[in-house]
Every structure is written in C-alpha cells, then in structure tokens.
Amino acid sequence: MTPDVIYDQLIGMGCARKLVFSWGGNPGVGSLHRFRDAVENGWPRRLEIEEHSHAAMASAYTAGAAGLPFAVYRGGLGSDLPKVNPMIRRIECPFTGEELAAVPAKRPDVTVIHAQKADRRGNVMMWGIIGVQKEAVLAATHSIVTVEEVVDELDAPPNAVILPHWVVSAVCEVPGGAHPSYAQGYSQRDNAFYRAWDSISRHREVFSDWMRRHILETDDFADYRARLRESPDA
C-alpha cells in the first residue's frame, strides 16, 4: 500500500520491476526520490506501476486472505485511476443493480512483515497499528515474519491479533527489524532518519554511495545498524 524507505532503496538499486501501491511518499517529509526518479526518468530502470487507492488495496488483500478471486468496494467512479489501471473494473450488485468497483485479489508470492513477538512454535503476535499485515500474510503463498523477540509464552490477551504458526512460513528474531519504522512497545520511529533519507535519496550519486557503504558493504543487519549509528546522515 505505502512503499516506504525500503521500497525506495529497492527501486533505486534497480531491484524492482513493478510496484503495486496506493501512496508513494516519505510520510511527513515529502517525496520518495528514488521512486520518483524511476517513474519520471526511468532511472536506473523503467518501473512498471499498478496504482490503486488505499481502500482498493485493503480490499484486495482481504479478498486474497479470504480465498476470493476479487474484492468489491465503493469507489473509483469518476476518478482517472480506472483509466490508467485496467484492473479496476465495475461490478453490478445482483440485487439492487447498483454499480460498484472491483479489483482482483492480491496474492503475494511472499509477504515479509515485522511483528513484536513469536513463541517457540512460531505463533506470531502483533499489536498497535496492525495495518493490513495480517491479511498480507494470509493472502501470500509464503510469509516471513521478523519479530522483536521470541518468547516461551505469548501471554496474549483474549482476541489478540495472532498468526497461528501453521499459516507462517518462517519466523526470524530481528530486534529493531522494522527500522526506520518502529515496533510498538519496543522502539520509537526514527523520525530523524526519515528526514535524513530526503537528502540521502535526492541525488543518485549520494544514494548509490550510501547504499554501497550501508548495505552492500555491511555483513548483516546488526552491522548495518552499527554503521548507521556511526554516520546516520551520509
């Protein structure tokens, strides 16, 4: 739905052929410059886009999670989005004749999310702003969940948001793995990094250099975090 800094990095490194999204910006800061450069100038490669509204994307993941081939929602009429996205179609209510919008279900090959806790069997628990994470996992063929910690007992309150171990492909303990985003109860959103990303990503050379030093030349996530603490802004 909302490609964030990690998407901007993938796009800027030429790792993405196509982006399916509904809002592509740096929240509270401005543009995702690598996304813009790819769409506006085709750098470093042309980026195919499939663009929706949030409501359509949320419905599409829900349909995917529910094993339905499409989702119905109120929207689209009169907007130019259906003109540029042929996957937004009209459907008629078989009872009232009312026209509504339809989109195909989203069924990712792999969904990767970050959650707070898992137990040793792989049951995952998340809380706070859960977004569309549960649906994105349930809609996917495979799913990888990084968590802040693996615990003996989840101590889940009733009706907690749980992904049972048997719907998740893999769980990895990666504290701080949501960075620069956050995990409620564990870390704060790194707002300074989101702001810094604006200047890091604005120019191709600065971006490429930053990626080389922080991603390509680091050993793993811990090394990346250490490098980041040394030189957050450049």
Binding site: G25, S53, H54, A55, G78, S79, R189, N191
Partner: protein
C-alpha cells in the same frame, strides 16, 4: 498590510479547526488536517472523534503524528482496528461526518489531483498518489480541503482526477468537497451545489489577491465576510501543540 501577530499558516489552521462542529466524526490525514483537527479538539470541540486511516479510532494525540502510523495514535486511541476495517466498517459504511484532505491541484468543482503533474505515463512530477483520498472524497458526508492558495494549485483543469470532490459520485447523501480553507480565505460550494466560490477572506486579504491566486475565474459571494483573527487561546493552543510536536520528533 499591517504586521500581524500570527502567520498565514496559523490563520489557515485556526480557520479549518473552527469549521469542525463539536461532535463531528472526522477522518484526518497527516499534516495541516491533523493540526487543524487536533486544535479543534483542544479548543471548542473536546468530543470530536478523530479517525486516522491507519486504524486509530478516537485518537487523542498529545503531539502531532509525523506519519499516519505513529505509535502516539495507537496509544491514545479508543481502539485500533486493521486497515481493511477502518476503510470498510468506518469510511465506506458512511460513518464519517467530515473528511479532511490536502491537494496538489484542485478545480472549481472540488475535484482533487494528488497523483501527477503532467501526463500520467510520462509525468513531470510524480506525486504520492491517492492514499485514502479517493474514497474519503466520495464516502465522507462532506469534505474539507486545506491547502495554500496559488495558481499552481487552484487550476482550471486538473492533470489527473485522483479524487472526485464534486459530490456527483458520492455515496448516499455525501456531498463531496463543501469547503476549501486556504491561507487567503474560505471557498464554499455555492447554493446550486456546482461550484466553489469565495465566501470569506482572512484579515488583510483582498478579493483581488484571492482571484489572482486562483487559476479559474473565481466567483465571490455577494457579502464577503472577514474571518475573525485567531483568538489568543487558539493561537496559544496551536503553538503549544507545535512546540510539543517539535520536541517529541527531535526536529
């Protein structure tokens, strides 16, 4: 023009806050809408219900969120629901009184572009896109737009219609964009419901300034009123909010 004790942005935010009735259920985005809605909540409308598209229902943030997903929203909300649920059970179900939107371009009918400047396939500027705006525009009972007044933004013809704000495609009795609050004044839908016309000017602003900042031939209501300037408590509350926000976000 006399020197004023407040900025144009402060006037705009205060005017937007005042537009919210005391018990409205309000769907807000980040930035000016969020500032205005929280100012309203902290002044005349303590019972205002704020819903953020990330699923925070009844959020009462102490500092303004930088992103829609800020923990502050979840921690102060009555409850947090999933994204599918906030869009289907709350917005689409017609439970929102006022949707609050920004705009990169807006036309005289209230239609909004937040997608591209230039051609979609070959854009001059690629903007973030629809987000929740398309369905806010058609499912909220009415929509307020808060945006700086300029010819770049108030255009004769949109490069792309992201959100239909004319009220034509709205669900049930929804009316689309009924009010646009700018740094110069306020536009409201005219009596026959077709076009946005200038109804108020902020103190010290002339009708000519507003017309010059508008890319279409802006109509004006017969009796143009002046917005009362920000009251001392409005200004103090807004500045406190921004001060707390800056401290919290380490800016």
């Amino acid at each position: 023009m006399p020197e004023r004790a407040y900025t144009a942005e402060e006037m705009m935010t205060v005017a937007a806050a005042r537009a919210l009735s005391r018990r409205a259920v309000c769907f807000v985005g980040i930035g000016l809408p969020s500032a205005a809605a929280n100012l309203a909540r902290l002044t005349h409308a303590p019972d205002l219900i704020l819903i953020y598209e990330s699923g925070a229902i009844g959020a009462r943030p102490d500092v303004l969120p930088l992103s829609i997903g800020d923990g502050e929203l979840a921690e102060t909300a009555s409850t947090v629901v999933s994204t599918p649920e906030v869009f289907s059970y709350y917005l689409q179900a017609g439970r929102i009184d006022v949707g609050f939107l920004g705009a990169a371009q807006i036309d005289r009918f209230g239609n909004i572009n937040t997608t591209v400047i230039g051609d979609y396939q070959n854009p001059k500027v690629r903007l973030p896109g629809a987000g929740g705006a398309s369905e806010i525009a058609t499912s909220a009972h009415e929509v307020f737009v808060i945006v700086r007044h300029s010819k770049k933004t108030f255009v004769e013809k949109l490069d792309f219609i992201t959100s239909v704000g004319s009220g034509k495609q709205a669900a049930g009795g929804a009316r689309g964009v009924t009010r646009v609050i700018t740094d110069l004044g306020i536009l409201e839908r005219d009596s026959d419901g077709k076009e946005l016309i200038l109804t108020r000017l902020h103190p010290g602003i002339t009708p000519e300034q507003a017309r010059e900042a508008t890319g279409w031939s802006l109509k004006t209501v017969g009796q143009l009123k002046e917005t009362p300037p920000p009251a001392a408590d409005e200004l103090a509350t807004l500045r406190d909010l921004h001060q707390r926000t800056r401290q919290a976000h380490g800016a």
